[in-house]
Amino acid sequence: MIDTMAIRMQRFLRRILTRPRIDLPLAAALFLLAGVGLVTLYSASDSSMAMVGGQAARFVLGAALLLLISRIPPSMLRNWTPWLYLASTAFLVVVAVLGEGRGANRWLNLGVMRFQPSELLKLTMPMMVAWYLHPRQLPPSWKDSAVVGLLIAIPVALIAKQPDLGTALLVAAAGAFALFLSGMAWWRIGLIVAAVGGMIPVAWHFLHQYQRDRVLTLLNPESDPLGNGWHIIQSQIAVGSGGMFGKGFQQSTQSRLDFLPEHTTDFIFAVFSEEFGLVGVIALIVLYAFIIGRCLWIAMEARDTYSRLLAGALGMSFFVYVFVNGGMVAGMLPVVGVPMPMISYGGTSAVSLLVGFGVLMSIHANRKMHE
């Protein structure tokens, strides 16, 4: 019994290693991105090999999970979807009741390790929306759209309440992109956008004071010289002083002299911009755009509705990371805790991103057969 299990396991591992079912262009782009991330981190962390090593270990773990998940056929993922969604939402409820964290309840302590259940929703949310829309007539009816809206709203509200606005935004976007890709009529999308816009004054009322302060600080950074205003000012100085070609690798004075806070995590892109200039920024954004484009390509080739919507939504939510973090670093958007994917140090986000790409690889492996 154990022998056969061991043999099966061995075969499975050999298959993963010798015949990986991956999309080479996407894998190559991710590999390149991870390299850029480690190089930038080396500079931003003041040559801390401990941090670079830790990050590399996360990438290795993420890559292993990617390979593993790429072997799971999308049909199986689809069957699990409602349970995964329910479980991750249940975790959120548990965290809301007895979570722990620095000022915010977002962690769940499992004794051995702590994890952030909201991180799971980044994956299970688009899965759930895709699962719900999969058997239905598309474009979705008002009723189906409303159900999807509810599926999105419940976990997002729980995450926003933690409070973790950045992750709430990412999760909401992932769900909304699936709905968008399902072909919801443009005028309906326009209506919803208008309605959400109209809700902003109401939402403002529900924001925590510190969240309002972040938005207000964006308009007048000098008002908060010890906190976020300082971040915004110093980040813009770092970006702006980088110029067209940058100050060069490891030449970021803003980070080196400790003017730029959080320069290995949320604001690492400012260090990148300072050292590699506009040329570097454009190159990195092109790389990101290539990855997103490739994801959408995989989505278009996918076999069924579920795979299509899931792959598309995952690719498009990748964009939200880049845009929100880049906008924050450039002083365009308020300071919310969204990392620059694969570049920012730490967190579980690098691992969960690679798990998402594992799903994409699986969808790619099970694509439509042409000709």
Partner: protein
């Protein structure tokens, strides 16, 4: 619907999806274009401006930690102070070889292994340009020796800071607690912005409970730094807001008298004003010097405290749970009256033995042959077990525990300290949860009636209960801090402490019966002599609880005090004046032969010290001598006078200020 679904147009859907994916990708490219435009704006259009700001970027905000609020007793005697001290700090970035530097520095300023361990731990968590404290609280000699050798250590600096000092040392160690260095776990729960530049945080006692009040808010200064990060000049300063000062309701003189009364024997005592819940004294003996913990206690000192057989670190008043013995009898009697189970005149015949029908083993009175026929007052006076066995049975365990729980037996009293013990109030639910599901036996009700069995009570709980009783049943949350004063406020602000509920006593005449019984304890019962020479009438009740359950029914013939003390816990609870109670107290001796004889005098000594303060009475609601208030928080006292002198000095000011009080 089903029909429509079966005609799901997969080919059309696929095409629709492709259009959407392309549209989505175009929107993404557009957004990226926007982002690049913004970076172009910063990096090309305004590059010169930002490049200039970058090279001139030399202004950094630096947090100024707030001075921690001071703590005073009710008369303004300083109990927790901030004193200037110096520490060695190291900037890791400037040290080429840390090990070599440390061993070289060790020859100039002695460095303990504890200092080095703490330093290395913090070093691992810090950034390379943050200076890390190496040795706190340098002596004059150490500062001098370092100053001479300073040129050898460019990476090390002597930095002034404010450290906590507890002038009265062990006297308030359990009440006030202490602050200690912030560690990695603290950083997880504290707001990093509010603790920038702060090295210490309240660890135990009031220092911890009132951390938010005591801490204050940091300010900052904008300093110009050169390329090496060294400060050139200060451009602008926003001063910090110091923490608020606390005023305890405890009177130092009573606290001292209470500790002295124990003569070093392990135990605890709590005195509470029944009119408002103010704690007047709260001691746990033995105690320890909290100053040892402030700047990191050495391993040897710590082991000595931890492994000492009499456990000085353990707060017996707050956390120690002991069987209450006969001290619960007045409360039980009151419950009997309130539930209508007993009338004051109802009598019970005490023969020395009380047997449940159908049970072989019987329950005994303390005196062989019993007390004869006793009514309620007499039963309290003589502590007649049989009376209370029967009363407990007639009340039943459910009513008994429901009644007793109202006095906070078996639950936290809600005092302003963390880590309070709950003790045990016997009940069906408690037994089912903690002991067994076998159900409750009548025999267990019987022994519950005399404070034995599962019962466990903390000295604070008993003090609180007797204060509630003395205050005619009106419950107050016990409070150690009576007032706070923010910097800039002329007077301390009283913290309101309204009754936590309606009176527990429905019929006022019931109270008179219990009062009469507890008076009789002092005039003719176990507490005889306790009132001698005291200006007010005292009412009280003793309790002698067995530490171990009996193994035989034989009467103990060994009457040697030492032998009994090894077997007994001695309790005494009392209040005074009996006609208008103003103070209630409970005292416990961990090893006392008899409640009244051993714990009684402790309560009496607390009352004596209280009576001495009543010669020059201060109104209980505004007793603070404003004129003698010390300098504002953050300032430093010039001298370190013995505090006795200060409290004596406070006296005249106290009386002169009582004129402008309400």
């Amino acid at each position: 619907m089903k029909l429509r679904r079966s005609f799901k147009d997969t080919r059309g859907e696929s095409a629709l999806f492709q259009r959407r994916a392309v549209a989505g990708f175009l929107l993404i490219l557009l957004s990226f274009g926007l982002l690049v435009a913004r970076f172009h704006f910063l990096q090309v259009t305004h590059h010169d401006e930002f490049a200039l700001r970058s090279t001139n970027n030399s202004v950094k905000p630096r947090a100024i930690p707030p001075a921690r609020g001071l703590i005073y007793d009710r008369n303004g005697v300083l109990l927790a102070d901030n004193v200037p001290a110096f520490r060695l700090e190291v900037i890791p970035e400037k040290v080429p070889n840390m090990q070599a530097m440390l061993s070289e520095l060790g020859t100039v300023v002695p460095l303990g292994q504890d200092d080095i361990d703490a330093f290395k731990k913090q070093l691992a968590q810090s950034r390379r340009f943050d200076s890390v404290p190496l040795k706190l609280h340098l002596t004059e000699d150490e500062i001098d020796r370092f100053a001479v050798n300073r040129w050898r250590f460019p990476s090390v600096a002597v930095v002034p800071y404010l450290t906590r000092h507890y002038p009265l040392g062990p006297l308030f160690a359990h009440v006030i607690g202490y602050v200690s260095r912030i560690d990695a776990d603290d950083m997880d729960r504290l707001d990093a912005d509010d603790y920038k530049g702060t090295s210490h945080v309240g660890r135990t006692g009031l220092e911890r409970y009132y951390e938010d009040v005591l801490h204050g808010k940091p300010g900052y200064e904008l300093v110009e730094v050169n390329a090496d990060g060294q400060t050139q000049r200060v451009l602008k300063t926003i001063p910090p807001t110091p923490g608020q000062n606390l005023y305890l309701s405890i009177d130092v003189r009573m606290q001292k008298a209470a500790v002295a009364a124990f003569e070093g024997r392990p135990g605890a005592a709590v005195a509470i004003d029944p009119r408002n819940g103010q704690v007047l004294a709260m001691v746990s003996v033995p105690s320890f010097d909290p100053n040892l913990f402030v700047n990191g206690i050495g391993q040897a000192d710590y082991n000595a405290l931890t492994y000492a057989p009499d456990k000085p670190l353990f707060d017996r008043a707050l956390k120690g749970a002991y069987p209450p013995g006969s001290t619960v009898k007045p409360f039980l009697a009151l419950g009997g009256l309130e539930y209508g189970v007993r009338r004051p005149q109802d009598t019970v015949l005490s023969t020395g033995e009380f047997c449940l029908p159908g049970q072989k083993r019987c329950y005994r009175d303390d005196d062989r042959g019993g007390n004869g026929t006793v009514n309620m007052v007499r039963a309290i006076e003589l502590s007649t077990n049989t009376y209370f066995y029967k009363l407990a049975l007639d009340l039943g365990i459910d009513r008994l525990s429901a009644w007793m729980s109202q006095f906070s037996f078996g639950s936290k009293t809600g005092i302003d300290l963390t880590g309070e013990g709950e003790g045990v109030l016997p009940s069906r639910e408690w037994k089912a949860k903690h002991i067994s599901k076998q159900g409750w036996f009548p025999g267990e009700t019987v022994i519950t009636g005399i404070g034995q069995g599962y019962w466990a009570v903390t000295p604070l709980q008993l003090g609180h209960a007797v204060a509630t009783l003395a205050g005619h049943g009106t419950p107050y949350l016990p409070r150690l801090v009576m007032a706070t004063r923010a910097s800039g406020e002329a007077r301390p602000q009283m913290l309101p402490n309204p009754p936590s509920g309606p009176s527990l006593i429905q019929k006022p005449s019931d109270w008179n019966v219990i009062n009469e019984g507890m008076r009789a304890v002092i005039t003719g019962g176990t507490g005889k002599g306790i009132n001698d020479g005291f200006p007010f009438l005292i009412a009280g009740k003793s309790g002698t609880a067995e530490r171990f359950s009996r193994t035989s029914d034989a009467y103990d013939t060994n009457k040697s005090t030492a032998h009994l003390a090894a077997r007994h816990r001695a309790w005494f609870e009392a209040y005074t004046p009996a006609d208008d109670p103003k103070i209630a107290a409970a005292a416990l001796l961990e090893a006392g032969a008899w409640g009244a004889k051993d714990a009684g005098p402790i309560v009496r000594k607390i009352f004596d010290s209280w009576a001495a303060t009543q010669v020059n009475p201060t109104p209980s609601d505004t007793p603070l001598p404003y004129e003698s208030l010390p300098a504002p928080a953050g300032s430093v006292p010039v001298e370190d006078q013995p505090v006795e002198d200060r409290s004596v000095e406070a006296q005249p000011a106290e009386s002169s200020s009582s004129g402008d009080g309400p």
